[in-house]
Symmetry: C2
Subunit: 450 residues, 2 copies
């Protein structure tokens, strides 16, 4: 439904833009949810984006759209806005989103906006700007409900009524000691159910899952997903509560990280840039292809080394694509299983040899099956038993080694603290190409007695 | 951290199992979080799983573990449990999870468990079993907080205290009319902040995002992610409120769907089966490779058709792997961008020709760059201008056509209502192999005047 809804919205908007139906556009855009507007903007030109954005009356909606747009679109629109309008638009946005936006703006504009904000807001935002983007500190919001461990259930509810009106999603109440250190957690629901005069420290939960400000966002996301929690508290090295990471941000991270993995495996950068220019896309993809290029040149050298064999038995060339191709595909299968297994926490480095051994076994079985098949075809086509055996063994070698490399590379990369997703795609298929061709021609040269 | 934590837990458990330290194991397992135990179980043999499971004292923990285990492990353990123990373990679990478990058990055991449950629970579970697994109905929980539109803020809080103690995450209160139709939504937070005597219909939110029971789970997940909501109400065709889908289930779906897409693209089935046997893995991967096999045989036929050319210029074979390989990788890049763009709702079918045109343009640019590079290498190596031009044009043709096919196939598959993820991987690389080889040899044959 969100997809269909966007399609309809895009088509309607384009039609109204063509007709110049400004009044209708204004009416429509002011009735549309911010999340839908930012989806719509991805399909419009920069000038149409600015034209529509200027029509939006609610500062809250403007802020939400800014927080959901792609970086470039956000910067382009924000740079055209006066400081006062920016401050208004950002005012109701959670401060983690405000920090994300301000951190991406030119220093001068960012400074001007921070100065025009009220002190509490600008201090919180500046605090957040100090953390690395992809850590718990970088994604947390400093707006949470903290109560003293001496408070009663009733007092806690009162404090919620009076002090914490700006908190985004107050489902957990964090209990802190006099130094701000996290000592327990309770929920709004629990407060409502307890006797009003009961002190919170008597019924709070002290078995808390918390994360440090410097934990990688991907680990934070995995933790929230595993324990099915709605928000996780973020503490510094002294266990002082600094903020919380909420589940809506975790969903975005999980989607982003999955996309990042998929794109890295295919060698197309690490984010979705397809709403940008052809030249930019080509520039991002060009270097990733260089690994294939190097591998291809090595394969050319290998084939060149067997020129004599090839001149005598030109038909050997006919089976090169299938042997290299099947090897490449089996290698991709193995590396995908390992990379995704690592990302999902289903595979662990400690089991390295067990995993690689298993992938090798699978490769040998698949190689034997398809080797037999290709050998039979070769025998039927050319009648030469030696040729058939060479082709069959070439397939077996290619698929076995591809499976081995496809599983081993990502695990080794992980051990070396390199992202395993980078190890697959171009890398594995290319290495497979070179090795398959080499084994195939070596076996053929030996068997055919050239 | 969850990964590391699991590694340590796995190693400790294995050591204690080897030593036969039953008392220590019992102590450890009863102190471990259910989510961690199910992660641990993936690394243990079936008999060790049963051995440890029997040591767990808390029925709640047992239920949670059953709900998080892989299907086969869950069935194996559940089948060994007496009906009374199963009922106890399932009692505190949300009913959507109970239905998932019971729906997977043998009919006889499922029936026995349902009969031993209390009536309210078994009716709810049986209701859920009627929905398709992968729809909103199949993933919703029927435990939600619904209040009458005539109730006041105070009465709503009271009803929460008295009636809805079993509701998993009561952050939203749904307001229904006398026929159970959804008319509004409010939050616990809003209730706490409003004047106690104010009727809920005066301050409830009537602009509700809801889904129908038959909506696909992937669309539900996309909707929850887009609008940053914690739970979405599920209604039937008469707008009667049937249940809610909570954000924790959405996270699981997003992870599963991403994994499914990644695996389909690589041609390794659609779920993670690597904790199973070698033979099972090989059997799942074997048919997916058949597409490559067919393509490989076609490529062999093509090369065979150019045997004359090859016998005269054996060196042509040297550039076959790099031309087919670069084409395959560019094709994979394009198809990955399109498949993931579709999944993320960033690409729409309506823009088909714009998308394909852009991918073709990128392919031509990349093909021109690497064609020039490979042509230069060929010229330097062999000195023959015609040979160099043939190789360069072959590369240009291969990469352009691969980019075109890589983007066109998934879009056509989508239009035909076939999952586009299936269209990539083996399919695109194989088609590319055949077409690249054909163009390369055709161009060479023409240019070299053979």
């Amino acid at each position: 439904m969100p997809g269909d809804r966007t399609s309809i919205l895009v088509e309607t908007t384009r039609r109204l833009l063509r007709r110049g139906a400004t009044a209708n556009l204004r009416k429509m855009i002011n009735k549309t949810h911010a999340a839908d507007i930012s989806a719509l903007f991805r399909h419009l030109s920069a000038s149409h984006q600015s034209f529509l954005f200027a029509m939006i009356e609610s500062p809250q909606t403007r802020g939400l759209i800014l927080s959901e747009l792609d970086e470039n679109a956000m910067k382009r629109i924000a740079e055209q806005m006066p400081v006062s309008e920016m401050v208004e638009a950002l005012h109701d946005l959670p401060n983690d989103d405000v920090a994300d936006i301000i951190g991406r703006l030119p220093a001068e504009q960012a400074e001007a906006i921070l100065q025009a904000m009220n002190d509490e807001e600008s201090q919180e935002v500046e605090g957040l700007l100090g953390y690395d983007d992809e850590t718990a500190g970088g994604i947390m919001t400093p707006e949470f409900v903290a109560v003293s461990q001496e408070a009663t259930a009733q007092e806690s509810i009162e404090s919620l009524r009076k002090e914490h009106l700006d908190v985004e999603m107050p489902f957990y109440l964090y209990v802190v000691d006099e130094n701000g250190r996290l000592v327990g957690v309770s929920s709004l629901r629990q407060l409502v159910l307890e006797a009003p005069e009961r002190p919170i420290k008597e019924f709070m939960n002290t078995d808390i899952v918390s994360v440090r400000t410097d934990m990688d966002q991907e680990e934070v996301a995995r933790l929230v997903a595993r324990y099915d929690i709605l928000a996780v508290p973020v503490v510094d090295s002294d266990n002082v509560l600094k903020g919380i990471v909420t589940v809506d941000d975790v969903i975005d991270i999980i989607r982003e990280e999955a996309t990042e993995d998929i794109f890295k495996m295919a060698g197309v950068g690490d984010e979705f840039v397809e709403n940008q220019t052809v030249m930019r896309s080509a520039r991002i993809r060009l270097p990733w292809l260089f690994a294939s290029w190097i591998g291809g040149m090595m394969a050319a050298l290998v084939v060149g080394g067997f020129a004599e064999t090839l001149e005598k038995v030109a038909y050997l060339a006919a089976f090169m694509p299938v042997i290299a191709g099947m090897g490449g595909n089996v290698g991709t299968q193995s590396s995908t299983i390992v990379v995704r297994g690592l990302a999902m926490g289903r595979i662990h480095l400690a089991d390295l040899w067990k995993i690689v051994g298993k992938q090798l076994a699978v490769g040998v079985i698949l190689g034997a099956f398809y080797g037999l098949l290709v050998g039979t075809v070769a025998k039927v086509s050319f009648g030469q038993a030696n040729m058939a055996i060479a082709v069959a063994l070439g397939m077996l070698a290619s698929m076995s080694i591809a499976s081995l490399m496809g599983s081993l590379f990502p695990l080794i990369f992980t051990r070396l603290n390199i992202d395993p997703a980078v190890a697959t795609g171009p890398f594995v298929t290319t290495a497979t190409d070179v090795v398959s061709v080499f084994f195939y021609f070596s076996i053929a040269t030996a068997l055919l007695g050239i």
